[in-house]
């Protein structure tokens, strides 16, 4: 019986150890930048929740970002790891499962509840990663660009309507429109959390975990900057082709007041402030960073180009 008692105590002591493990072992975490399916596959028109509701088909021709400054920390201690590198990545041609951009080794196993990363204006410190072309890389660096996109929008019955007038007979047929933007405004996205579960990451003891920094590609088309009770539409952007040359530029966006948006369709109440359609695009760009697929990074700190 004495041996049995010792055995029981050993088992229970083991339970204590397991239950209160403070994570004295270490592990590794790999970080991948992952394109949302909308970037690699485009968005089709239709009535589905994630379809374009106004008949336009979206296909990306270019989706470049400058990503970096990954930070992992704990709210209850000063422990903090940082991957300071910044990479210019071609997300249009990145693997659907993600492109490896860094690994943190020797990090204490357990939960790290604070994860953040940035999409930042490119500069001389930016490095080329994956299949990014030298031409795209140079344009990003020289222009201090955070996000560079080119989208082809097609619609067999498409029209472009002058957004600056309330007249109803102000539309011209235009079946293909390109949105071509080099966006300098960046963001540090913090408080990253998966779609369900606790914020941050769990570092496995003695092995390596993977984290996907997912970049969404459909927020330009949102009727509100949230994920629920929204639709995806393109007409408000297509209409900004003021000179009807088939290309919507950032200069044209800046000439169209935000008040052209119908408040019965577009909810701007969560936008800190906006004057023109360029502001709409600016805030949309700052909502692109996500976490582990559909998880979010709600703490968004704007980073403006110097």
């Amino acid at each position: 019986m004495k041996k049995f008692t010792v055995l029981i105590m050993a088992v229970l002591a083991g339970l204590v150890t397991l239950g209160c493990d403070d994570g004295s072992k270490t592990g590794s975490i790999q970080f991948f930048v992952q394109p949302e399916w909308t970037i690699t596959s485009g968005i089709q028109p239709g009535d589905g929740e994630e379809d374009m509701r106004d008949g336009w088909t979206v296909e990306y021709e270019r989706f470049m970002i400058n990503i970096g400054d990954i930070i992992v920390a704990r709210s209850d201690s000063s422990d903090r790891f940082k991957l300071p590198a910044r990479y210019i990545v071609d997300l249009k041609n990145a693997p659907q499962g993600g492109l490896l951009i860094g690994t943190i080794d020797g990090i204490e196993a357990g939960n790290w509840d604070q994860v953040s990363y940035g999409i930042l204006p490119a500069d001389g410190s930016s490095q080329k990663l994956g299949d990014a072309s030298q031409e795209d890389f140079d344009r990003m660096v020289n222009g201090n660009i955070a996000v560079s996109v080119r989208m082809k929008l097609t619609n067999p019955s498409g029209v472009v309507c002058d957004p600056t007038t309330d007249a109803t007979d102000n539309c011209l047929p235009e079946h293909e429109v390109v949105l071509d933007w080099d966006i300098p405004w960046g963001v540090v996205a913090g408080g990253c959390a998966p779609g369900s579960g606790e914020p941050g990451i769990v570092v496995p003891s003695g092995s390596t975990g993977q984290v996907k920094l997912t970049i969404h590609g459909d927020h330009w088309f949102f009727t509100a900057f949230r994920h629920e009770n929204i639709e995806r539409r393109a007409q408000h952007l297509v209409n900004c082709d003021l000179n009807h040359d088939g290309v919507v530029t950032m200069d044209e966006l800046s000439q169209v007041p935000i008040t052209v948006l119908d408040p019965q369709v577009y909810d701007l109440s969560t936008v800190p402030d906006a004057t023109s359609m360029l502001d709409y695009v600016k805030w949309a760009a700052r909502t692109l960073p996500h976490f582990q697929g559909d998880g979010g990074c709600p703490e968004r700190t704007p980073v403006n180009p110097e």
């Binding site: 105590m9 935000i258 008040t259 800190p272």
Partner: protein, 248 residues
Amino acid sequence: MRNYLILLTFFVSSLVFAGCDDSSTTGQALVAYTMYGTGTGTTDFVSGDGWDIHLDEARLAFGPVEFCAHVPTFEIKDSMTGCGVVMGQLSVAGVIDALDVQEQELGTVQGIEGQIHSVSYDMGVSWPSTQASPKTVTDALDGFSVRVSGTATKDGSEVPFVFEVTVTPPNQGLFAVRGIPADGSVTQETSSVVVSTDPVQWLRYVDWQKVKDMYDGTTPVTCSEGSTLYNSVYYGITVGRPVNFEWR
């Protein structure tokens, strides 16, 4: 011996629970305090495009209101339709005369002690999750959320205007304005929260030259739903924190 083993098991199990317990909840005390609205008293200002604006009336329906523990954000899956912990509620709507700097009582906030980080609110029209359609909470402005009237003057042109706009929540169960930053630490000593608003900000998007172009020489210019002018006033009172909160 069997009793001994049971006792031992309970003892060690209690160690497990005691050692790992990281929570200590005591609950938060209920509080009630008064919400007041106040304006800037500004009746005359110059618009961004150089028009002299004189206001005769600037009133805003305000409420219901919900104060939240959640850190504000402009986009996340959960936080825009959720609140975290609800820290306070005003279930009625009142009207703020924005030309009056006096504090105007809007109602009583019921809530709990603690830190407020964000606020969601309606402007006299709500769409509760239990209602099939939006409902008017106050008739003080005849069902409108805002009424602002006055005269715009420039280069000898004098244009009277009356703008009336209704702000309706976009969906059932949602507030019209959500997740706006607010910073208040509420205790048993908190006596009030003051809501301040500036009609100059309400009208910052208005293109006054277009208002002049709409004037027929006799009837004050109004804004009809669906027009850019209507949208200008709508976004003026909903975008960019046109309402601020201060707890005392």
